[in-house]
Symmetry: C2
Subunit: 452 residues, 2 copies
């Protein structure tokens, strides 16, 4: 579970050797600690002519205590920024893309380590002309290239913001901006995130964004699930930690550590959804957030795979999520403002050798988000997924060294992510303040080269 | 422009060494030669219970002279197939995905080299329930994994077919099936293709699918453009080959070779669209197919990039396409049944270091397809893009050896593609028979690992 190479690189002797030999140079990523300021330096905020979000962003970041700088006044070539934020919503044709160059070119070396690049755009469906939609779609090529180019732990994202959010509810964009600017999004890069209108409630304290929320986490005994339970509890949630009876001891340990409750349940049992629903109803009367984290792998090439391996993986990773959602929704246990977050995988996006079963189940999770989120939106419930890339867990520690090293280094951070990185991302999607974010699949992969 | 390693691997001594050392083993891909049968062996056609396309597929493949086999009768374990085609439209929930396993598991080793896997599904918008949409989306994980797993030049694709096409126009699916089964799609794998209703006209001779069509190819003097001019002419098109005046000699050579005409024009000149329109109007009275192939790179990291490099790349690769489309469409020079095909790039999907300008322009091309194709559909004109991966050209021959080798091998074919592979794919999208295919971005990348 440790990346010894990264530790070595960050040592004195390591640094010298890495520089001399031109070896991969994984930076130490800025991660979130409660009480941290949102950003460790000033933020440069620019906007294309005629953009519609800069004013709102200025207001909310100023209120958040961020020191904002104006590109017109940024004449000091030695100035360093924690983030470059650019409102590109005013760009209405391909010639107008030049404004991106004008903003980013002089600042390409001005970011602090683990700096942030955030570009704001208009989703295609809301563009007035094909030329505007074309230019807005082109933003993706820029942000993904910047993510691959800037290095030193810098992340780059494109956020498409619907017009609905312009006037009424600045909080809808605030949650996403806060997540992306903070150390919580350390291992999220090269992503396209869609923010719309929705039921968003600002927390009293942005350091406890889940205060009082009842959160169910499946597969909570180990790895990403255990990290998740800890992060959500840290952020104020009452965590209901669920895992199979065989993992009971580890589960109890996690639940005790965070002051949550433990539920031992095999999710594939026919009566699991109703038993779970009854437990939640009797103990809490509701569940505000459901995180479908439980998942298994049973790898074999298709020709060597027995039917049980296929069935188990599809059932645990996909069908059981559907059954549980259906029962909890039927019984109205997830109130308006509720959140469902599912765990998909890069394998569900790109496919993977030896994982036809796993990739099918995880692609299905993406289908679940696509198809069910519009239905749940009507009820004020959001549904999103995260797709982890190479995350350092006891599972990845078992991968043969060379393949493990390739997986670790083939991303813009030149290192694997930590379970806490996935947990922080799920946490953001679970916040009451994130109601404007639904139907997204967000990769937590350090902008892995792998994709489709 | 030659992959010496691949040639070596295909030699007698090379084969022995590759086997012994476990080196990458790029197979010799089956490519199309006029007069070839559609497939070099029988095709196994299966269907999930309640599927809606198998009957149509049986009819059209039988008429195409394909020897079809039924999985229920496929008891001979030594039988070898040219393709496995599976109609998955009957799968309505995740438990039903088991039928995929039941079909593919016993046949995982039954494909001939350069065999084909084709899965047919229903697009999300036409699924009756979220559960059905979830299961149909899960098909992507399966096909992409099979593409990575089967090896030996086998390709795997997922084709979503709208219900519109069920009854009336079998030709709409036929063009796509013929392309995917044939050697024309040698380097296309892991793709998701959407086929709907549209103006599709079957050719008199499927070996001359572009008979009599007036086709404009920009950037036709060299590389992919020259291969494209040859392939389109071979398939019956009257090719108008366009390139900049500086490439006039090479352009004339290509045009003479294929019996086409040459147009020397700088597409970024302000009067280029009208001059081109006038040329096409006076010589041909129309243009049936426009292929926007002209493109340039001016690589630099963003901090070192001068404004000219940004402007030129955006203008040649994106804005000039928009200007030309607009003028040709305004003057009604592209008739109903017309086709526009643009060339995007993997860099436009995934971003690339040192290519902020290029990736932005190529992502814009995807935006052009997304936003303009619904408008053009009303006029009976299709608009699609191809996104080439690593293609062996004089440009890639200049890439340093190690990076070139990585680019070449990091895909399911373990080799770079040839210009003809991109040309064949563009050709298919240009056929009068392909009217049901619009709004697609098809990668020609051998299922490169790179993506987003």
């Amino acid at each position: 579970m440790t990346d010894r190479y990264a530790s070595f690189v960050q040592s004195g002797a390591g640094r010298a050797l890495v520089k001399r030999l031109g070896l991969p140079d994984p930076p130490r990523l800025r991660r979130h600690t409660p009480g941290d300021p949102l950003v460790p330096g000033p933020v440069l905020l620019g906007a294309a002519a005629g953009s519609r979000l800069a004013e709102q962003v200025t207001k909310l970041l100023t209120l958040a205590g961020v020191e904002l700088r104006d590109p017109a006044a940024a004449t000091d070539a030695t100035a360093r920024y924690a983030a470059l934020v650019y409102d590109a919503t005013g760009i209405t044709d391909s010639a107008g893309l030049r404004q991106l160059y004008d903003f980013f070119h002089p600042q390409a070396r001005a970011l602090l380590p683990s700096g942030r690049v955030i570009v704001l755009g208009t989703p295609s469906a809301e563009c007035g002309t094909p030329r505007e939609a074309t230019a807005q779609r082109a933003l993706e090529g820029l942000t993904r290239s910047i993510g691959k180019e800037f290095g030193r732990g810098v992340t780059a994202q494109l956020v498409y913001v619907t017009r609905d959010g312009d006037a009424g509810t600045p909080v809808s964009l605030e949650a996403t901006l806060r997540f992306l600017l903070s150390g919580r999004s350390a291992y999220v890069s090269g992503q396209v995130i869609r923010v719309g209108a929705g039921t968003a409630t600002a927390p009293a304290d942005w350091d406890r964004p889940l205060d009082g929320q009842v959160v169910l986490v499946t597969g909570a005994a180990r790895g990403i699930g255990a990290a998740l339970a800890r992060v959500l509890a840290r952020d104020g949630a009452k965590v209901v930690a669920l895992d199979v009876p065989a993992a009971g001891d580890a589960l109890a340990e996690v639940a005790n550590e965070i002051g949550g409750s433990a539920v031992q349940l095999d999710l594939t049992a026919p009566d699991a959804p109703t038993r779970l629903a009854e437990h939640l109803a009797s103990r809490h009367g509701r569940v505000d957030v459901v995180v479908h984290n439980a998942g298994i792998t049973r790898d074999k090439t298709l020709g060597r795979m027995d039917a049980d391996r296929w069935d188990q993986v599809i059932d645990v990773n996909l069908s059981s999520q559907e059954r549980i959602n259906d029962v909890l929704l039927e019984r109205d246990l997830i109130p308006a403002g509720g959140r469902i977050v599912s765990v998909s995988s890069i394998a569900g996006i790109a496919g993977n050798r030896g994982q036809t079963n796993y990739a099918t189940s995880k692609a299905g999770v993406i289908g679940l988000v696509d198809s069910l989120s519009p239905v749940l939106r009507e009820r004020g419930i959001s549904l999103n997924a995260v797709a982890p890339g190479f995350i350092e867990t006891r599972l990845t520690a078992r991968i043969p060294l060379l393949i493990r090293e390739a997986g670790r280094r083939m991303n813009s951070m030149a290192q694997g992510g930590l379970p806490v990185d996935v947990a922080e991302t799920i946490g953001w999607l679970a916040w009451p303040a994130s109601g404007a974010v639904t139907g997204n699949v967000v990769r937590v992969c350090g902008q892995s080269l792998l994709g489709a």
